[in-house]
Amino acid sequence: MEISLLMIITVVVYLIATAIFGYVGYKQTTSSSDFLVAGRKQHPVIMALSYGATFISTSAIVGFGGAAATMGMGMLWLTFLNIFVGIFIAFVYFGKRTRKMGHSLDAHTFPELMGRRYESRFIQGASGLLIFIFMPLYAGAVMIGGAVFLQQVFGINYETALLFFALITAIYVVFGGMKGVMYTDAFQGAIMFIGMAILLVFTYVKLGGVVTAHEHLTALSALVPDGMKAGGHQGWTSMPKFASPMWMSLVTTLVMGVGLGVLAQPQLSVRFMTVKSNKELNRAVIIGGIFILMMTGVAFTVGALTNVYFVEKYNMISLDVTKADPELLKAMDEGKILPAKQAPKPAAAEKAAPVTAVKQAAGAAGTAAVKAPAKKAIPDNIIPLYIAKAMPEWFTALFMVTLLAAAMSTLSSQFHTMGTAISRDFYEKGLNISSKNNLLINKIGTGIGIVFAVVVAWLLPKVIEGGSNIIAIGTSLFFGLCAAAFIPMYIGALYSKMVTRTAAISSFIIGSLTSLFWMAFFHTKESAALKICKFIFNKDTLATTPVLATLDPIVVALPVSFLVIIVVSLLTKKTGDKHLLKCFDGIKHIAAKTAKGGK
């Protein structure tokens, strides 16, 4: 694709607007409270859009959209969890107490909230370190999502795209702090909403309406490649076969890993502390719910439907289009070569006919032989290719900015969280080193985090083989690790006076280690890439069955983490009533029980 004047203008206008919002944040940042929790007085619309835009990255749209194009619309279970767990449960049952407790304990970051609730410098410092070490994996995945798109659109190299993202985002995070991050997030969220709404409408209209488009996708089940069929694929509008490798990957890694992991994302939880009362959270639930529906709901639906478009246009499913020679696709676009007709399987021939019938353009010069190309398919390229091929140029420009906005809004929060994790949580509190200028320490921490994340993003595609949903895996890995390390401790902090400091520490350590152990030695997708198992045991995984090899770490580590926190709580000394009263001040039910000395 060539760079048009329209694209350049769109991007420049977007960057100027981002810079203005970042500058407003910078001017309004006068204290560490402003820098860390945006002064605790944010408007619900800004909070909800910021939460949503941080939650949804380019990886959710490009990476997971590509996964939906591969695995089908079963990915919508993730959208359901994104809305029900990621917004409703998170805001109503976690957000309100987090806000109130954060206020009572004067906590400015998620690790600080946990550390103060359990009166443990270790928890704050170790949580900060865990975030700082592993968040770059997620940030790397986000940057890859954006970089792949920029590669497609501008034809620039991967390294340039990475530096572009990191540099622009770093500037407003370092200077604008949380206010800069939230204002730009809200602006970027609004762009994302418009872009995705147009994409949904355009796709359904192009494919003949909601039900017709779905019917055409259903009819394509005959075209599922044999390899995918063997993996459990049963068509793009059916769930994969129960307990098959594809089902395990879809349900345990993508749906559960990300769907549940969202509850303990430090960069999201801290946003609950940026509003002044529960009223703001109640109002933000509406905006958050609609926003997420329009993000992952649209990405997964359109992702799967790209198959209908590509089969109609090139007679290839989306995965095959990513393997095809770009020159061949261009020749087909121009009508110089006609797509070869794939022979549908007999049983499905009648159903598949409407979509596989290739229009024979007048004066055609020949027919493209659609052989199984030698190149590996890259699911991450499907959405960018669909936008480039199916959408009008004005929309390509808008969508490019949508993806830039999605990547930058997530990245800015990741940089901010990594910065505060290493500076405030690990350096200042964990190591107990006091500093005269903690704002400066924050900025240095952010700078180190950014460099680390860029290096990871540069290395990831080299370490993990292409075509393995690298963006989706990077994201779900971090979500899964956070779930095992933080969810039991977080629920205990907000809802129970029984959970002890020792139990929280034990759950954090054992949950994290179990998750990492399972990634390194059992879950083949990561263990093969990490090569630790290969080095020690000379094989990619210790799993003896396909089910074990595809069972996501969250399914193992989260229950273990819960078990540990319950058992250790029963065996160790309870937290003092005085501290609990302070923690649960204003959280009526538990505070009242504690005051009465109830157990």
């Binding site: 619309m73 079963g74 959208t79 004067d106 039900v211 059916s238 009223k279 609609i290």
Partner: protein, 57 residues
């Protein structure tokens, strides 16, 4: 249902929309509830702001 072959996928599609409706209804019903900006919180904020300005110096 809805042109979708598998019940699992059709349910996911419907539940997704229902979850969004739940968020809308909840927010609508509780629009003006939860305003608890008490005197105590104002005092706490003043205390933190003083602390912040000291640290900033």
């Amino acid at each position: 249902m809805l042109g979708l072959e598998g019940t699992g996928v059709a349910l996911a599609y419907i539940f997704t929309i229902l979850a969004t409706l739940l968020c809308i209804v909840y927010g609508w019903v509780n629009w003006n509830k939860g305003d608890e900006h008490e005197t105590k919180e104002i005092k706490e904020e003043l205390k933190w702001e003083e602390k912040d300005s000291k640290l900033a110096k």
